[in-house]
């Protein structure tokens, strides 16, 4: 018994050593014939020799030899797989590609940087409960100016150089390309019978002015308007503060300067602390050494405009602001020339 099992173990070791030495399919076939061949494989012969084993040892003998057979078969299969993989990998290495060659170009579209900036701004305001509305780009002078308390012959009209549409109505020019999104303050309140109003209105605006690195005649603006009982200037500060943090980083600070726009009272201009030089760059091109970047105009909606909307100006107050999207985009990416935006050069657009 012990000799039998002992000799089986010796046999297995011998077989495995031979298997290890077989290096191709032909050698494997030969090995299989020698050890597991149906006729005279050495393990087959052992199985057949069971008749010569003492009857009370036959069961154990048979089990041991069968186990050996199965073990060898499994090792054979594993050896085949290993050789196959080795061959595959050898061929792959022979045909190695240059992995430093560039990948094949894929069609990749991108949004215009103004669209991206506009969307990011609108998202920030949506998160504060603002709805998004729109209004016409070709506008009546009544909405663009008069209703915004900028009458004809008022020097405040100098703040907006206007492109007029060449159409006479009752002998007068009344149609223009809106110079700001402010007319939408009037339009939104007109169609909202009762406050609350909480809306942002994006869109293109136009100015009759010469272009240079910081001036463009076609602009994208976002008008903001919140009107309700209890709307305060401190809320304006809070809303714009959150917006500034969303666009320029959570550690931003903001400041209001006194300003004048006929449609707000009080009127302010908002600046954010310079995130380029963090306030100590005398040579800083972004803030010109002041540490502050002027970024938008805002204020409390003039009570006359609240009144004209049919709201009770003694109870209802509101704030409004106007953001220049190009300016925001220039600041966030450090773009040096506003004229890049609408020249549509893919070398520029491909960077965003």
């Amino acid at each position: 018994m012990t000799t039998e099992t002992g000799s089986l173990a010796g046999l297995e070791a011998e077989a495995l050593a031979a298997l290890e030495a077989a290096a191709d399919d032909a050698a494997l076939d030969r090995w299989r014939a020698e050890w597991l061949g149906r006729q005279d494989g050495r393990v087959t012969v052992l199985l057949r020799g069971i008749r010569e084993v003492a009857p009370d040892e036959r069961a154990a003998y048979g089990a041991a030899v069968n186990a050996l057979k199965q073990a060898l078969e499994a090792r054979l299969e594993a050896r085949r797989q290993a050789l196959k993989r080795a061959e595959l990998e050898r061929l792959a290495r022979e045909g190695a590609i240059d992995v430093t060659l560039p990948g094949r170009p894929q069609p990749l579209g991108r949004l215009h940087p103004i669209t991206r900036t506009l969307r990011d701004c609108l998202d920030a305001f949506r998160a504060m409960g603002f709805r998004v509305a729109e209004g016409p780009e070709v506008e009546w002078d009544r909405y663009n100016f008069d209703a915004a308390r900028i009458p004809e012959d008022h020097p405040a009209r100098d703040m907006w150089d206007t492109i007029w549409v060449n159409t006479l109505i009752d002998g007068k020019r009344r149609m223009l390309l809106r110079t700001h999104t402010t007319p939408n303050q009037i339009r939104v309140m007109e169609r909202t019978p009762q406050p609350p109003v909480r809306v942002v209105v994006p869109g293109k605006c136009y100015r009759q002015e010469a272009t240079d690195a910081t001036h463009e005649w076609m602009l994208t603006q976002i008008e903001g308007l919140a009107v309700d009982e209890g709307v305060r200037m401190s809320d304006l500060k809070g809303v714009l503060y959150e917006w500034a943090r969303a666009m320029f980083g959570t550690d931003r600070r903001i400041i209001f300067h006194h300003s004048y726009f006929p449609f707000v009272e009080p009127g302010v201009e908002m600046a954010i602390d310079c995130f380029i030089c963090r306030g100590d760059g005398r040579q800083c091109h972004t803030c010109h050494g002041t540490g502050w970047i002027e970024i938008l105009g805002a204020g409390m909606v003039h009570p006359e405009i609240i009144d004209n909307a049919g709201y009770d100006a003694s109870r209802v107050t509101g704030f409004a602001f106007g953001i220049g999207v190009e300016r925001v985009a220039m600041l966030r990416w450090g773009i040096e020339d506003i004229r890049h935006f609408y020249s549509n050069d893919l070398r520029f657009l491909g960077q965003f």
């Binding site: 094949r104 991108r110 016409p136 004809e152 919140a226 309700d228 549509n344």
Partner: protein, 805 residues
């Protein structure tokens, strides 16, 4: 406006450093755009005040002279070429090593002394240019008489000039006194107003001139005085220095006084030569249409009937509030001056100066709305200066015609309004101090009201919220907390067009298209390349009166030209496929109303796919790439388009389709006509598609049509049929897709179209891949074959299709 800090100090103490002052002023008053320090470079030891004690000719040069100069410490000799050099002058003197500006190049330099034409020079008498004061280099700078000799020049001439941009409603800020009042309120200082005292020793003014206002709606007040015994000459050096620092050119003592007082008070003044005023009377009246006058700038101007003129007994002598006439100008021989200080309606002055294209220091102030009380203030201030500076004899009395006199405005401000608007309470004592410092008369009416009288120089303050702004800006907006909006949210407003537009934008990007944004104004010629001659709307775009450039004169009625231009411009520097799109408006004119702004997505694509590393590439994008993009977008939106062959101006016939969703056309796709492409300098085949957002949005399902997934597998089969070449493949496909039989649905794709050997002439073969599926069971092949047979029979009936053998 340029504010000299030295001049400002005459009216208010300024203790803040300049950058702090600038910051505070910007926060609360008006924007300080920057400042210039005069004398920053002047070394106190090397650039000093000196006196010219003798002038002798240069032995070797006619144009040069030798000046003997008392520097306070010693007497030295310098060589000087200035023609205005004279004994007794107080001058600026620089010693060796002083930092100056080069008189010729204007560049900073260090003074090095050399003998000039053989004569040693101990220093240099300086011009304004060398000091960096102005570009004046004709002669030396002459300092005011009495300037102490030997002191550093920086002590007497050093200054800071603030460049301040003021607001359109604040005429008072265009005067030093008004600006000083703000600084006083901001810094807790006290305003010192300039003297307006004078002695009237001349004859009664009433006997010298009469004034009448025939247009009281345009002229609210007219004051006039007469000064006799004047000698016209240069104004004193201190006055000239201040005018120059303010950016004005000194002219003569009379004109300089009017300008000086204007800079001081914000109120424009005008001096006439009294002896040139015909009839000794002044009339303020509307111009007679076509009336003309040569103004002081030498230009003859014509007026309309709404323009206000200042006339004498015979005709116009000035354009009210804008510019005087040449016919009554003060000149060297003038001995008597008629001084006009008036108040005109702001809008009228603005209209006149705009129409005449004549913006002057006076009109810029009047158009912002001056308080009429300032007229008398400035009149008296000017008379004080005429007396002290020109030694004139002032006629007794001042003519004052004042039809527009109004009582002072009083505003009741509820204290609660301050918190309602700003969000914080401002203590009573701060409200009183701030408004008081700004010149308002404040009565606190306990418990919670203020009765506020508005000063005459602040006509811009009309309502309680104007007072809230005064309080808020001086109190400081930095004291406002950042709070969040309270209350209910407005109802959401659905905007399906905007939502679809943004969705299309994302889809186009996902399909590899780059977004562009073009100017919305273009030319008629470009629009004509891409719009149909019979399309009277698009061929007649709205023009603008004053385009920024000729190529931006018409509002585009089609996006195609813009996107093709973008394509062409980028093709010049990019190889490979280009895919561009823009979403914007077509501006379609409407008679008598605003144009329709029609949102459209327009995309252009073309070029060859790039092959790389021995694989693929080289084949050009074609119609089916464009159509595939459209189908992908529509598919993502949950709809399928129906494409039908179409013809359209600018697109190639036989290669263009319109597509509809539901009953409506929603866009177009096609190859750009090669001639049109060539007109945009595009040589390769390019394809274009448009999605008409508003037409599409009406036929979109509110949410995508959802179908539960079948638990049973589909049976896949192919079917090739032969049909007449004229049968549209789309119709065959549509029929296959709609085929249903005994609870079995059909999904179909068309994967091949073939003409050629094996298919009869005039026919084509269409290969369909079909998936049959039942919701309630696994189909057997036999069942599927039966359904396919049924489909084939229908195709046969509808299109004469036969199974391809």
């Amino acid at each position: 406006m340029k504010i000299s800090l030295n001049w400002l100090r005459e009216y208010v103490d300024v203790r803040l450093p300049i950058d702090e002052l600038a910051r505070r002023v910007t926060d609360a008053v008006a924007e300080v755009e920057g400042w210039r320090v005069i004398g920053e470079m002047w070394d106190p030891a090397l650039v000093r005040v000196a006196k010219v004690v003798a002038v002798d000719p240069h032995p070797n040069a006619d144009r040069l002279r030798l000046a003997t100069v008392d520097t306070g410490e010693r007497t030295v000799q310098v060589v000087c070429g200035a023609p205005n050099l004279a004994v007794g002058q107080t001058v600026a003197f620089a010693s060796e090593g002083a930092r100056l500006f080069d008189g010729h190049t204007g560049e900073p330099t260090t003074l090095k002394l050399r003998p000039i034409r053989g004569v040693e020079s101990a220093g240099m008498v300086l011009s304004e240019r060398e000091l960096g004061l102005s570009d004046e280099h004709e002669g030396i700078l002459v300092l005011p008489e009495g300037t102490p000799v030997g002191v550093p020049l920086a002590d007497v001439l050093g200054d800071v000039i603030l460049e301040v941009s003021t607001w359109a409603n604040r005429a008072d800020l265009l005067g030093m006194v008004g600006f000083a009042r703000e600084v006083a309120a901001l810094t807790g200082g006290v305003l010192r107003e300039p003297s307006r005292e004078f002695t009237a020793s001349g004859p009664a003014v009433d006997g010298l001139v009469s004034v009448s206002i025939e247009a009281p709606d345009l002229c609210r007040r007219f004051t006039a005085s007469v000064i006799e015994g004047i000698t016209v000459g240069p104004s004193p050096a201190w006055m000239q220095e201040r005018l120059r620092k303010a950016g004005m050119r000194p002219i003569n003592n009379v004109v300089d006084i009017t300008n000086y007082v204007m800079l001081e008070t914000g109120q424009p003044l005008h001096a006439f030569d009294y002896d040139l005023v015909r009839g000794k009377r002044i009339v303020a009246r509307r111009a007679r249409p076509g009336e003309r006058l040569v103004t002081l700038d030498g230009v003859e101007r014509e007026f309309d009937g709404e323009m206000l003129l200042i006339c004498d007994g015979e005709g116009p002598v000035g354009v009210a509030g804008v510019m005087g006439g040449g016919n009554s100008e003060v000149n060297e021989g003038t001995t008597r001056v008629l001084l006009e200080v008036a108040n005109f309606r702001a809008g009228s002055i603005r209209r006149t100066s705009t129409l005449l294209k004549l913006r002057t220091e006076a009109s810029l102030r009047f158009e912002k709305g001056l308080g009429p009380e300032m007229a008398m203030y400035a009149q008296q201030r000017a008379l004080h200066l005429f007396e002290t500076v020109c030694g004139g004899r002032i006629a007794s009395g001042i003519v004052d015609v004042y039809p527009g006199k109004e009582p002072p405005r009083t505003i009741v401000l509820e204290a609660a309004r301050i918190a309602q608007v700003l969000g914080i309470d401002v203590p009573v004592e701060d409200v009183r101090r701030i408004l008081g410092d700004l010149g308002f008369l404040v009565h606190h009416v306990p418990p919670a009201k203020y009765s506020v009288q508005v000063p005459s120089w602040r006509p811009d303050v009309e309502i309680p919220d104007d007072l809230v702004e005064e309080i808020g800006r001086i109190y400081g907006y930095d004291r406002l907390p950042a709070t969040m909006l309270r209350g209910t949210l407005p109802a959401p407003e659905a905007n399906p067009v905007m939502s679809l537009r943004e969705r299309l934008r994302d889809l186009a990007v996902a399909l590899g298209f780059q977004e562009v944004i073009n100017y919305t104004l273009t030319t008629r010629e470009k629009l004509a390349l891409v719009t149909d001659p019979l399309d009277t709307v698009r061929r007649n775009p709205l023009g603008v009166v004053n385009p920024v450039a000729a190529q931006h004169a018409y509002l585009r009625t089609s996006l195609r030209a813009s996107v093709l231009e973008s394509y062409a411009a980028n093709r010049r520097q990019a190889e490979g496929p280009l895919r561009l799109f823009e979403i914007g408006f077509e501006y379609l004119p409407v008679e008598g109303d605003l144009p329709i702004e029609r949102p459209v997505l327009c995309a252009v694509l073309g070029g060859s796919r790039e092959g790389r590393w021995h694989v693929g590439g080289g084949d050009a994008l074609d119609f089916f790439d464009a159509k595939g993009a459209v189908e992908a977008m529509l598919g993502a939106l949950g709809v399928r388009g129906t494409f039908t062959a179409a013809e359209e101006h600018g697109l190639l016939p036989g290669h263009t389709a319109k597509f509809g969703v539901g009953s409506e056309m929603a866009g177009i796709v096609g190859q750009v006509h090669p001639e049109t492409a060539a007109a945009f300098d595009i040589e390769e085949p390019v394809f274009l598609f448009e999605v008409w957002v508003e037409d599409l949005v009406r036929h979109l399902p509110e949410r995508p049509p959802y179908q539960a997934l079948s638990r049973y597998p589909a049976v896949r089969m192919d079917l090739a049929v032969v049909v007449d070449a004229s049968v549209p493949a789309g119709a065959v496909l549509e029929l296959a897709r709609s085929h249903r039989s005994q609870g079995v649905t059909t999904r179909a794709e068309l994967f091949d179209e073939y003409r050629g050997p094996g298919v009869p002439e005039g026919k084509k073969s269409l290969a369909l891949r079909l998936w049959f599926r039942a919701d309630d069971r696994t189909l057997t092949d036999e069942e599927a074959l039966k359904v396919r047979q049924g489909l084939l029979a229908r195709l046969g009936r509808e299109f004469g299709a036969e199974l391809r053998g």
